[in-house]
Subunit: 309 residues, 2 copies
């Protein structure tokens, strides 16, 4: 089985949406990526850090999903990273109510020996120096390195972010972040500028409006599945990235055509994530549900126009 | 050849975008629909009204596109409908600077005798009473009636709008209008409520984010082509509707699968419309350009995932 190395936060979230609110629940980019990638036939490990307040049941959950957590450091006497946010009525924007870095402030990632030759590395949203450090520890060149980031690092650690962006094959960011990073409003132009920063593949996530995959002059688009209810968007982008990286890891194929499939799988998995609070839907998601929804994605997008020659 | 009857404004527009501004140029929903539908093998007619200030060269342009203008009334001593607007920097929103109804205020549409048995009727954005009057004049039941409208009529003439919506097969509106008309935020729920108002098919236009086609429990999505530059969005929605109605008219096929193709053709033609000011791009658009871009749409959206059984 191929190996996927994941770095990303494992955290507590407290979420408010127009439909309700949660106490501290399981969250973090690494968690969502790991749960999503667990739908593929691969070996995965999460590199992250938590405090000793992190419940054993959450660790057990990750292990039950066949995720190697030997690189998930537990800091004795430390507190787990905590994020709290409130979504607006349209669920497209949110206010951060509280961020407590806690053990994340001094996090030194340690890649498990068995994953220093991982086939694919998924660098989830974290400080770019942490992302770079993970790449530094690899003993063989991964077939594909995927990086996810956000506007926070563009504001606070741009030089470090640009350094790590140079080293990756694929970057996944949302539309506003692509515009901020490139200084271009047109997403076509933004992708072209981000190509020049290093990544051969640029994935622009547009939330409910789908995702675009750019590779020099080629472009592919995957819609989001139109849903009756979006309950909680938390983790949707990470779930998308985890599905993308997981599918690539399993298939061992980094052609553009296969990346199209990876984007569809990512969108498919993300469409489940938003149906319940936090990780609830992803924890119980069954293979049959994923397959059935994949058929919906086909019906949603495939057409058959005879093209004149 | 099958017949397409178009009702919609033929007008003067004055447009400001971040890229420049125009004096009074050719505009109007009927104009854009007619130019778009002229790319198909069909007979079309526009029912509309202008004043005697409307230049002969614009009438000649419509005739040169094989559009029957015997139902385009020229009011002697009257002035043509005029709209002026300014787009914001993101081109997604605009302010109306001036609206002069002029001859449109007392418009009584007259369907040419030769088009009272049209196969398809495209009711462009106009007062719902005008749209109803056109349907009243039909001597045979059209195979398909398509209606486009906007929030203005929801605010000012809702009962009349609901009356005409009852009588049509397809409604095309944008996402915000679908939400306003239905009172539902989720577009899936909005489409379901609009189905109950009459139309079997609900097309929700999302501008740069593509378009959704709903038919009871079936849904199809066509993206907008990612463009380097969007120059002027004026008329894009009408061009989309004209492409949709034109394709259906030519193909004589109102199955859901064929409507998917119609949505793709509409998106394809709209992608050209926005590349220049006003009707400029559509006036000179060649068949070969349309075919080439259709191939881009296929590449943009088609994928080949093996689905498990």
């Amino acid at each position: 089985m191929n190996k996927l190395l994941i770095v990303g936060t494992v955290a507590f979230d407290a979420i408010e949406t127009p439909f309700g609110k949660t106490d501290k629940i399981l969250g973090g980019a690494g968690t969502y990526i790991g749960l999503s990638a667990s739908h593929f036939n691969l070996k995965s490990a999460i590199v992250s850090v938590v405090g000793d307040d992190f419940p054993q049941e959450y660790l057990d959950l990750l292990k039950a999903k066949n995720i190697d957590i030997s690189g998930l450091e537990v800091v004795q006497g430390g507190k787990t990273f905590f994020w709290s946010g409130r979504y607006h009525n349209d669920l497209n924007s949110r206010d951060t109510l509280d961020t407590q870095l806690n053990v994340l402030a001094d996090f030194q990632p340690k890649v498990p020996a068995d994953f220093k030759n991982a086939d694919v590395v998924m660098l989830g949203n974290l400080h770019p120096l942490v992302q770079s450090s993970v790449l530094d520890q690899m003993e063989t060149q991964p077939k594909l390195v995927v990086l996810d980031t956000m506007n926070f690092w563009m504001d606070c650690a741009l030089p470090e972010l640009l350094d790590v962006i140079k080293r990756v094959d694929v970057i996944t960011i949302n539309d506003e972040e692509a515009r901020q990073l490139s200084g271009e409003y047109s997403l076509v132009k933004a992708a072209a500028k981000i190509h020049e920063m290093g990544p051969k593949y640029v994935v622009i996530k547009k939330g409910e409006h789908g995702a675009l995959l750019f590779n020099s002059d080629k472009v592919f688009f995957a819609p989001a599945l139109p849903l009756e209810e979006v309950f909680d968007p938390t983790g949707a982008g990470d779930t998308f990235a985890g599905g993308f990286a997981g599918f690539i890891t399993q298939s061992e194929n980094i052609s553009f055509d296969n990346m199209k499939n990876a984007i569809i799988y990512g969108s498919n998995l993300a469409s489940f994530c938003v149906e319940k609070f936090g990780t609830e839907r992803m924890e119980k998601l069954q293979k049959e549900e994923v397959s059935a929804r994949l058929r919906q994605f086909k019906a949603l997008t495939q057409f058959d126009i005879a093209l004149e020659n």
